[in-house]
Every structure is written in structure tokens, then in C-alpha cells.
């Protein structure tokens, strides 16, 4: 441990910390561009200049390891002058057209110019330009505009050190330097859009989001990616009832600062809402109806089936896409209250997803790996829903050996199977088919009742990821009128048999989970362990906002105690 004094305030920093971190712990925000806690330190941008007693020259604080007894002046006149100068040099060749730059509002150059720059520009010369390398696609997801690059190398280091693919490099040198790929190659790896996150300026932006919405209009909600079982923490960024993008919400225990492109670009899929009212089949024709009628039909079909053929004639399909709360309600209603033995789910194995996080629990060779293409198989199991095995009712249904009197599917897209024609045909043989659905698929075509439900952006609850971490997600957008969340549907349905109270919130159900499911026993819904970290203001400054100075200090100390490089 080293005692360091920053602007008169003494702080304790682990020996492997650097002066920039010491300043942060002391509550002094030293502006910086190239420093990123997960990338190698290069001292490239010269923005983080501070004065250190005993060192005649001004120092780039990110490159200086702390020493016991160090005295740092982060806000001295000399330090401020140095930072002003760096800022001025950076701006000599910067377009200064923030109003037409998509990064404006979450740009570190803009922020640092405000915080540490001169209020005026002393240059009026034309800015450097790179015809052919501005506003050009550099990969399937990323647009590069080299006129805006400040040569911090964060993107290059991301590709080389985190992705391990090394697509990017500096080409040429001096005032001609650009970041680009080798000829004939594109920036295409599983996490390529993270380069746009780490880029402090508008030099790298994502094709999907670029110029779609000014970032200061976006509202943020803490959520969890449903693309695979890793469950990267995300922020759903939305406006006017429309989801615009996902950003990774930093969480050092799960996704660190990253998320994969596959998960990220599923964002706008949340905006699809084919069903806005319950739909029922009457004879041969389908019609829209109200909730009362739709639930009435389900209740009738279930009661009749139990009376005529017993509860075992009913098959209920839960889903690894539903929250633990929802699976729990499904199981309580059908298995516990109505005695249905077949409450099952299946989950697909998708492409292998990987997130680099050497420090996370459960990593394999430095990676968290996700095979299941749904977020919550563990939660479903914990909630009592059975994973369908070869002799399960669900498999018997698929192979035509079991024809349920009632088939209740709580997620029309529970797995690939749901749109497999053979399965749909078998399912249709059931006496009565009810599904929860947001978008149309083969199963909703044949269902007797389709209950319109909200997407992830309209729901709250918890998932249990591959590390068995309980992770909460919250509501971004209130679902459109009439559409309900899966939880509301189940509460209203359950009320018909007198089991649930329709006023319950996800929080109330969470309390039930705590009582009934051992995995949830000690979980606190609002705790950091479950709720994760707040969404950050800008992805490039994720590091700035993830920890309060006190937390940063605690983290660093814990890291030092374990002998890790914080």
C-alpha cells in the first residue's frame, strides 16, 4: 500500500496502482483519453498530465506507478497549462463540428474540451482531411471517420488484447496517421462494436445506431442481454417508446466492459409487436377479443380437461426466455395449484458466445462462455419447471406419442422447435392451444388463444446466468395499452383459481422466490450483486462512472490483497 497525497488529500492506493487511479480515488477527475483499465497502458494521448513532487517534468499520470509518500498536484497551474496545451494540439486537427457528429453528447473530447480546454480556438487553418477514410464502413458494424480520430489506440488495443484478432493498426505516421485495417481485411470480430464503445470520439461509431438519435434524448434502463446464458449486463437506450440500442453496462463480475455484437444488435428486435390484443379462434375464423374473454376460454378448457381426463392430460411449456418470477408463477399455478405434472421447458444450444473476463468466476481460459441461446434455463429449473428430457411429455408430444387435452405455451418462441412444422402439427392436435406471444410464428398461427405480451423492454424480473448469478432487469418502456407482461398474464390467470393477487409486482414475487427457492434465499433485489452497476453516461467513459471513488478504492484494495493487478 502506498500513501499518496493528491491536491492535499491523502489516500491509500495499492502499490500496483497508478497516479491516475490515485487521483480518482482522491476525487480528482484527471481528464484522459487513452487510459482504459482493461487495456495496456500506453501513455499515448498526454491528456492526463499532473505535477508530481520531485519530478522536474510534468508527468502523464496513467504511466506513473504510485510510490509511498508521493505528492501529486493534479490541479496546479502547470498541470492545467499542460492539459490545455494537449487539448489545443488535439483540436488543431479536429473538425470541431460537434453539431453534425454523432458522438456529440457522449464524446470525451467534447467533455474534456469543456473541462480542460481553452474557451477559444487560436487556429483557423483548414483541418486535416482523409478523403476515402472518412465516414466509411470499416467492418459490418462499424463506421470509421478518420478526420475525428485522436490517435488514442484504444480501438487497436481492444482488437489486439481483448478480442485477440488484431484487425486494426496505425497506418502511416505523424500527421498522416490513421487507424485502419490491413488491405483487404475488415474489422469483423465477435465484439467489433466494442471498438466504437471504447473510442472516445466520433471516429468509430456503429452503423446501426449512427444518426438515429441524439444521445442526450435517450433514456436508459438497466437490463440483461437475453442472447445467451452469460447474461451480459446492458442498458436499454430508448426514447418515445422505441428501443434504439443496447450498450454494455459494466460489471466486473460478468461482462466487464464488453458485450458481443450478436447480443448488441438484437436491440431493435424488441420493437416488434405483432400482437396488441388477445386473439382467439372461433370455429374457423380468428378474431381479436378482450382479456376477460381470452382468459375465460383458457380457464374453461383447463377445468374441462382436468375433469374429463385428469391434470396429466395438460402440458404446460415454460421458457428459458422468461424470468424466474414468471416461470415460478407458471409452475405455482399449474403444478402446485392445479396438479399438472407436465410443466416443462427446453432450451436450444446456439452458437458459442464468449466474453473476455479473466477475473470473473466460472471463466474458462479467461473467457465466459455461453452456449445456450436463452438467458434463464437455471432460473426456470430453480422455479420448478422441468428441463424436458427424452422421456418427457414435451418430447412425447413432438414424437406424436402424447396428445394433450390442453397445451399452454408461456412463450411462443421458447425454442427453435416452436417454429418447426412437425412440432406445430403435433401441437395442433391438442384439444386446446394457448400461447403467450409478441411476434407471429407458426405456433401462433394454430393457437386457439394468443395472449399479447411485452418484450424484454417492458418487463422486470430476474434471470440466473451461467455463473448462477441472479441478475435483475428493469422496465424500459411501459408496454402499449392492452398488451401485458407475461407476469401480469399469469397473475390474472392465476386469480381465476384464486392463487395470485393481480396487484403483485416483480418485487413481491421476488420475495416469494426468496422464501421458496434456496438459490434466491439470500438475494437482495436492490443490491449491487443482483441489480448490477448503473448504466453509464457514455460508453467511452465507462470507467469514470462505474465506481464511485470510495468503491474504486475498495476494489483496488481488494485486488491488491488478492495479488491481482487491479
Amino acid at each position: 500500500m502506498a500513501k499518496v497525497t493528491v491536491d492535499g488529500r491523502e489516500v491509500v492506493v495499492p502499490d500496483n496502482g497508478n497516479v491516475l487511479e490515485a487521483c480518482r480515488i482522491a476525487g480528482v477527475d484527471v481528464p484522459h483519453f487513452c487510459y482504459h483499465p482493461r487495456l495496456s497502458i500506453v501513455g499515448q494521448c498526454r491528456m492526463c498530465m499532473v505535477e508530481i513532487e520531485g519530478m522536474p517534468k510534468i508527468q502523464a499520470s496513467c504511466t506513473v506507478p504510485v510510490r509511498d509518500g508521493m505528492v501529486v498536484s493534479a490541479s496546479s497551474e502547470k498541470a492545467l497549462a499542460a492539459r490545455n496545451a494537449t487539448m489545443e494540439f488535439l483540436l488543431i486537427n479536429h473538425p470541431l463540428d460537434c453539431p453534425i457528429c454523432d458522438q456529440a453528447g457522449e464524446c470525451k473530447l467534447q467533455d474534456n474540451a469543456f473541462a480542460a480546454g481553452l474557451p477559444v480556438s487560436r487556429t483557423s487553418e483548414p483541418r486535416r482531411q482523409y478523403p476515402g477514410y472518412d465516414r466509411t464502413g470499416i467492418g459490418p458494424h462499424v463506421i470509421a471517420d478518420m478526420t475525428r480520430c485522436i490517435q488514442c489506440t484504444r480501438c487497436i488495443r481492444f482488437c489486439a488484447e481483448i478480442a485477440g484478432t488484431g484487425e486494426l493498426t496505425f497506418i502511416e505516421r505523424g500527421g498522416h496517421t490513421i487507424v485502419w485495417t490491413h488491405e483487404g481485411k475488415v474489422l469483423d470480430n465477435e465484439w467489433s462494436a466494442c471498438t466504437a464503445d471504447v473510442c472516445p470520439v466520433g471516429a468509430l461509431t456503429t452503423k446501426d445506431f449512427r444518426f438515429r438519435k441524439r444521445v442526450w434524448w435517450l433514456d436508459k434502463a438497466r437490463s440483461v442481454c437475453t442472447g445467451c446464458e452469460i447474461g451480459c449486463n446492458i442498458s436499454i437506450e430508448h426514447r418515445d417508446r422505441q428501443v434504439f440500442r443496447f450498450l454494455p453496462r459494466p460489471n466486473p463480475d460478468v461482462n466487464d466492459y464488453w458485450m458481443c455484437d450478436y447480443g448488441r444488435f438484437r436491440a431493435e428486435e424488441l420493437n416488434a409487436q405483432d400482437f396488441t390484443r388477445p386473439v382467439v379462434k372461433d370455429g374457423g375464423s380468428t378474431k381479436e377479443t378482450n382479456w376477460g374473454d381470452a382468459l375465460e376460454r383458457i380457464q374453461k378448457a383447463v377445468d374441462e380437461a382436468i375433469k374429463a381426463k385428469g391434470a396429466a392430460s395438460i402440458l404446460v411449456i415454460g421458457s428459458a426466455n422468461l424470468s424466474t418470477e414468471e416461470n415460478y408463477l407458471l409452475n405455482s399455478l399449474f403444478r402446485t395449484r392445479l396438479g399438472v405434472p407436465n410443466v416443462e421447458f427446453v432450451v436450444d444450444n446456439g452458437a458459442l458466445r464468449r466474453i473476455k473476463n479473466p477475473k470473473a468466476e466460472g471463466n474458462q481460459e479467461g473467457w465466459l462462455k455461453g452456449l445456450e441461446s436463452a438467458p434463464n434455463s437455471r432460473g426456470a429449473v430453480a422455479a420448478g419447471v422441468t428441463r424436458a428430457l427424452s422421456d418427457s411429455a414435451l418430447e412425447k408430444l413432438s414424437s406424436g406419442k402424447f396428445t394433450p387435452a390442453v397445451l399452454y405455451v408461456a412463450d411462443a418462441a421458447f425454442a427453435k422447435k416452436a417454429s418447426d412444422p412437425a412440432f406445430v402439427q403435433a401441437a395442433r392436435k391438442a384439444g386446446f392451444v394457448a400461447v403467450h406471444a409478441r411476434t407471429k410464428n407458426a405456433l401462433t398461427e394454430v393457437a386457439d388463444v394468443v395472449l399479447p405480451v411485452a418484450s424484454l423492454s417492458g418487463k422486470e424480473g430476474t434471470f440466473v446466468n451461467s455463473q448462477r448469478r441472479i441478475q435483475a432487469f428493469s422496465i424500459a418502456i411501459v408496454p402499449p395499452p392492452v398488451v401485458r407482461t407475461d407476469m401480469e398474464v399469469l397473475l390474472h390467470l392465476g386469480k381465476r383459481w384464486g392463487v395470485f393477487d393481480t396487484r403483485w409486482t416483480a418485487g413481491d414475487v421476488f420475495e416469494l422466490l426468496k422464501k421458496e427457492i434456496p438459490l434466491y434465499a439470500d438475494a437482495e433485489r436492490e443490491s449491487r450483486a443482483v441489480a448490477g452497476y448503473p448504466a453509464v453516461i457514455s460508453p467511452a467513459s465507462a470507467y469514470d462512472s462505474i465506481f464511485s471513488p470510495e468503491e474504486a478504492e475498495a476494489k483496488l484494495i481488494a485486488a491488491a490483497a488478492e495479488g491481482r493487478n487491479g
Binding site: P131, I138, F170, E172, W180, H182, E183, G184
Partner: protein, 185 residues
């Protein structure tokens, strides 16, 4: 305002435009000769990491292939287990790796201060004119001469100084230019 050629975003998923920064293709696969490979292997023993051997490896490549093509970059990257992008970054950082084919004689005129004061600029222009109006960096059709301008050759006492491939030539003036060129043929 950023300006310049605006390559449409929809040009993807194609490739980045081939521009002045792009590595040119030589149109064929390249490979070190036996001797060069042996030299390369020996080289590796002298450095702590493979990456550290990049500059001398590129020199071998330049000697073997004449210039550093896209294929040469890929080849060297493969030899050293580096990403081709990294190798290309290094090639473009240094000016003495040729990024296009050069003539048999690469004539490098120093135009830094001492040579400049002694009329290097004029000799440089005159030389290009004599070789059929070559543009800087261009090669004569017979593949013999390429003329470029370089910074100080550390021959300031013999200004205007010229370097041809690796050899120094002292005091090349307008008067002895013809004789100089003749000596190269």
C-alpha cells in the same frame, strides 16, 4: 467540416477503399528462398520475442521480393505469428520499406538543409526530367530507375548527396549528373 470523397456507407460488406494507405498486391503468393529462410531462422535466435525480429525480417522480405506487397505482409506476419495489420502498420511507419515496385536503381536525393543549399532541389528535378519526366517515386518504363527525395543522408560534407540503393554518391551536381546516370547503366 470534414469533407473529401464520401465513400457511401452502404459499400459494405465490401472492403475498405484502396487508397494511398492501402497495401498493393503483387498478384501472386510469395515465399522466402531457402537461404533467406535460413537467415530468418538464425535471426530469430537473436531476439527475445518473434515480434522483435519484425524489422530485420521485413528487410529480408524487401531484399527477396524487391518491395513489400500485401502478400509479403501476410507472409511475414505468418512467419512471426503477428497480425497482418500490425506488420502493415510497421511497414507504413518507416519510409525505407518500399510499398511499390522500384527500379533497379533507387536514386534517393537528399534535399535536407546542406544539400538544399547546394542546389539539391534543382538536381533532383533535372534528374527526373532527364529520365523522361518521372514523377517522384515513379519508375522508368524499362524498370531501371526510380527517383525519390529523402531526408539527410549524413553526407552533409559531400552535399548534394545521393544514395543509390545502399551506396553513397557524393557531390552530384547538375554538371556531373549525366556522368552519374551513365555510371549507373
Amino acid at each position: 467540416m470534414s469533407g473529401g470523397a464520401n465513400v457511401p456507407v452502404d459499400s459494405l460488406p465490401g472492403q475498405p477503399p484502396v487508397g494511398e494507405h492501402g497495401a498493393l498486391s503483387c498478384g501472386k503468393d510469395v515465399k522466402f528462398s531457402e537461404e533467406a529462410l535460413a537467415e530468418f531462422e538464425k535471426l530469430l535466435t537473436r531476439y527475445p520475442t518473434k515480434q522483435a525480429a519484425l524489422l530485420p525480417s521485413l528487410w529480408i522480405a524487401q531484399r527477396e521480393f524487391g518491395w513489400i506487397s500485401r502478400e509479403a505482409v501476410d507472409y511475414v506476419a505468418g512467419l512471426l505469428s503477428l497480425s497482418p495489420a500490425f506488420v502493415w502498420g510497421v511497414v507504413t511507419f518507416y519510409t525505407m520499406y518500399n510499398r511499390a515496385p522500384v527500379g533497379k536503381h533507387l536514386i534517393q536525393f537528399c534535399t535536407s538543409i546542406s544539400c538544399h543549399l547546394n542546389g539539391a532541389e534543382e538536381v533532383y528535378h533535372e534528374c527526373r526530367k532527364k529520365l523522361g519526366g518521372l514523377k517522384p517515386g515513379e519508375t522508368t518504363p524499362d524498370g531501371k530507375f526510380t527517383v525519390i527525395e529523402v531526408e539527410c543522408l549524413a553526407q552533409c560534407d559531400k552535399a548534394p548527396a545521393v544514395m543509390v540503393n545502399g551506396d553513397d554518391h557524393a557531390v552530384i551536381t547538375k554538371d556531373n549528373l549525366d556522368k552519374f546516370l551513365e555510371s549507373l547503366k
